[in-house]
Subunit: 67 residues, 6 copies
């Protein structure tokens, strides 16, 4: 599937922290660390684990700019 | 101001496209291009312009993972 | 790409309205109409057009419940 | 209250999973399953429970399109 | 309809600016100004206009904290 | 850092509830209570605690209007 989200950034999973329903997944994306809060279920279904290649996907209307 | 958003990524503005009310701002962040859709008003107020240093700021609950 | 978003709903594009930078795309999803506000650029790049099959993709943290 | 969100989809609650602070609520909406991640507090206050009629409410700027 | 969003703030519309597809609506909420970016269509359908009472509705997962 | 988000509302922290990965933080903003769902990590890093001054920061595209 191709997605309309403008930001699809290739990285590698460096940390997965599971909570009761929500997991935090950290990717290394070209030296930057990006944190995603997703469902535990998605972590299991996609087999997200440390060391795997993965993409951070972000809709452009969810990106702010800081100066 | 320090912000709770987990993702504050340093980059440089490479494109600003103004619409009727919504602008698209592109940053180069370590070789990745990140697109933000923000208000025209914010572009004006923060003086966002091509060549300026800026941060992409993204709440972790707005980041998805693709495999 | 498989995505962590829990909601990937199959439908058919029934309307595309382009604005200055933001388009509104309407899908028929099993008799319900779902409206997406996405960038013009995404509409062009994905070739989104009336009559095409498409998915509405929604992160579960963006869904509210009304009673 | 009438709401500006373009997507108000009628369904029935088929699952409620409570976490420490965040619940996952699943609705059957015309044969599609829609997952919402909302606060435990909202689940309690609105009395969201399996078998009840409910609406999935989604702002159009939170809907992406996949092809 | 009662909604799961934790933040439903009563105010009065003080400005409506229509774009090509996206409108900006400003509410005075107890002396604070809150800006919403919503579809033109929602503005028309709800009859949102300067001087009217209205609520700003915000899901708690869309609120960040700054210190 | 100045941020593009149009809504930066000054308040005082009145409640912090930590979950497994997600915290709920309540601010009193001019008599209105605003709830934010943020990461535990952000709560720790910013030292968010009852009685402290803080801002609720909300992107305008995440604000809906109810009538």
């Amino acid at each position: 599937m191709k997605i309309s989200a403008r930001n699809v950034l290739k990285g590698k999973v460096i940390e997965v922290t599971k909570g009761a329903t929500t997991s935090h997944v950290r990717l290394d994306v070209g030296g930057n660390v990006i944190t995603a809060a997703i469902t535990n279920e998605a972590v299991d279904e996609l087999g997200i684990a440390v060391g795997k290649d993965a993409f951070a996907v972000i809709k452009s209307s969810d990106v702010m700019i800081g100066i």
